[in-house]
């Protein structure tokens, strides 16, 4: 077989594989949106669920998912980026560092239901957080930290050594070099990692069943004082997220339109994850451009 033929075969196989992936994705998205979108309306997005009657919505669940996302990222981002900077720039290459790296790898492949059980034992019971957004956010932090650490470490490592040396040679301190030269260059990769982490938070159900809980108290959306028990912003109240809600109504929904609600909620979930992806990417590009003065 000539090199040219081999080349052509390899190319067509690769194109075919890429095509299959595209097709699967398109089919999946199309099917979910086709089934779900007809049920999505403003009423559906804002009203409370009805356990036994038709016409329930997903308002509180949608809010819970978004709020939990914010809480989790507030904890995850500083910890993850800080640890990533340490691992990439300050940790000496020795056994301890390698061990930490191994632990991070292992942690990132933990089944999420196990993380949920850990959250139940430690955050819910030991720390007396009960079923709450706070417990859920902490469990999801355990779940997401490895990803953030690894992404930050790799992003900083991929900054050319010459950039770092240029900073140091100018008499910048190490921290200043990391902060002002290296982090801006690593920013797009860190942003991508953050989006991935956020997407996982949004879609996660198993780790939340025993931490954030499967119920939502009656919320008063006019009360924004986080210390009131009926306030949506209270981080110590139980909160069923959208993903958990989908699981619940599919498993034990009693409302006559439960399948439609599940389909509609799935469509909403997917659309938000997509929006989040595109939005964060655009934001990341804009910030990177501002940092680096590139067009």
């Amino acid at each position: 077989m000539s090199a040219k033929t081999a080349d052509r075969i390899a190319l067509s196989v690769i194109i075919a594989v890429a095509g299959i992936i595209m097709l699967v994705l398109a089919a999946l998205l199309g099917y979910l949106l086709y089934r779900g979108l007809s049920h999505v309306s403003w009423h559906f997005l804002t009203s409370v669920p009805q356990p036994f009657r038709k016409g329930g919505g997903i308002g509180p669940q949608l809010f819970n998912s978004l709020f939990l996302l914010v809480l989790t990222m507030i904890i995850t981002i500083p910890l993850g980026i800080g640890a990533g900077i340490y691992m990439s720039e300050y940790a000496k290459p020795n056994r301890l560092t390698n061990f930490i790296r191994l632990v991070v790898e292992v942690l990132s492949s933990f089944p999420s239901i196990v993380v949920g059980l850990f959250g139940l034992l430690v955050f819910v019971n030991l720390f007396h957080l009960k079923y709450s957004l706070a417990a859920g956010a902490l469990a999801l932090t355990v779940f997401n930290l490895p990803l953030m650490v690894r992404v930050t470490e790799q992003a900083l490592r991929s900054v050319p050594q010459s950039q770092k040396e240029a900073g140091l040679a100018l008499g910048l301190s190490r921290w200043k070099t990391i902060r002002s030269i290296m982090l801006p260059m690593a920013f797009p990769a860190i942003m991508t990692g953050t989006i991935l982490a956020a997407g996982r938070v949004f879609g996660e159900a198993a780790a939340l069943l025993f931490t954030a809980g499967m119920t939502t108290p009656r919320l008063d959306f006019t009360d924004w004082n986080p210390f009131h028990s009926t306030s949506p912003l209270n981080p110590f109240r139980p909160a069923e997220t959208l993903a958990v809600h989908i699981w619940k109504i599919n498993a034990e929904g009693r409302a006559p339109d439960a399948p439609e609600i599940a389909a509609g909620a799935s469509a909403v979930l997917i659309i938000i994850v997509l929006l989040f992806n595109f939005g964060a990417r655009a934001l990341g590009r804009a910030i990177y451009r501002k940092f680096t003065a590139t067009k």
Partner: protein
């Protein structure tokens, strides 16, 4: 004897077990260009990088011996490396401008070191870019990305950047070897110009370049400083056999 900018005494560098530089003692006069030549792997770049403690950032590198600048041994453990590096500018083989605007590349160092006044920063940017003959080429696009410049312009920008912290010594690691002949000629002119103010230590693979730009030349071989003398003498009448072999192209 002219004013001394820096000298080393028994400077050795180890990478793990391997000794890359073997007890090199060398002196560098102010307002002179000193070329370091030798075959690949002879240790000349390693030697250069130890002069501003840049080997500190390489895991497993260890430096012994003394480097004296302004009456201080900068290799002493209590040296403030960050302060030291403000006294020494460095330029690398591959241009490595920051991924920032042209203006920001120059203003970044001085601003960090405490100059906040916009007018003062503007002045520094203009004077550093003029010194490197870049001002006329870039003055209309100071806010544009430094990465949009050509390789030769980027390298002159890097030289300009190294001048911003007002060093007395410039270290150049093959500053023209990644550039085309025209850009190379510009860099060499620049070196001749900068010599009036700075002590310049330049590592080069190009022996014609060493002969053209330098006052003194040191020949390195396997981590040893084999010969160090006036450039004129090194290239016409070297006292060591291996120097003669190298400059006449019999090896390396």
């Amino acid at each position: 004897m002219s004013e001394m900018a820096m000298y080393t005494k028994d400077l050795s560098v180890y990478y793990g077990e391997k000794q890359a530089i073997k007890k090199v003692s060398m002196d560098f006069a102010a307002r002179e260009v000193i070329a370091l030549i030798g075959p690949s792997g002879c240790g000349k770049s390693t030697f250069l990088r130890s002069l501003n403690r840049m080997n500190d950032v390489i895991a497993g590198a260890r430096v012994e011996g003394e480097i004296w600048i302004n009456g201080r041994n900068i290799n002493a453990p209590d040296t403030d490396v960050v302060r030291l590096r403000q006294n020494i500018g460095m330029v690398w083989q591959k241009p490595n401008p920051f991924h920032k605007s042209i203006y920001e590349n120059i203003a970044f160092g001085p601003r960090y070191h405490g100059i906040r006044d916009k007018r003062k920063l503007d002045e520094i940017v203009e004077s550093c870019l003029r010194k490197t003959a870049l001002w006329d080429e870039v003055k209309d696009r100071l806010k544009g990305s430094a990465l949009a410049l050509s390789g030769g312009q980027q390298q002159r920008l890097c030289i300009a950047r190294s001048l911003t912290v007002q060093p007395s010594i410039l270290l150049m690691d093959e500053p023209a070897s990644a550039l085309d002949p025209v850009s190379t000629a510009k860099i060499e002119e620049l070196i001749a110009e900068l010599k009036k103010e700075y002590c310049i230590v330049i590592v080069t693979h190009n022996m014609y370049q060493a002969a053209r730009v330098s006052d003194k030349t040191g020949f390195f071989l396997m981590g040893d400083l084999v010969e160090y003398d006036d450039t004129q003498k090194i290239f016409t009448n070297p006292s060591q056999r291996s120097t003669d072999d190298y400059i006449s192209g019999r090896f390396g």
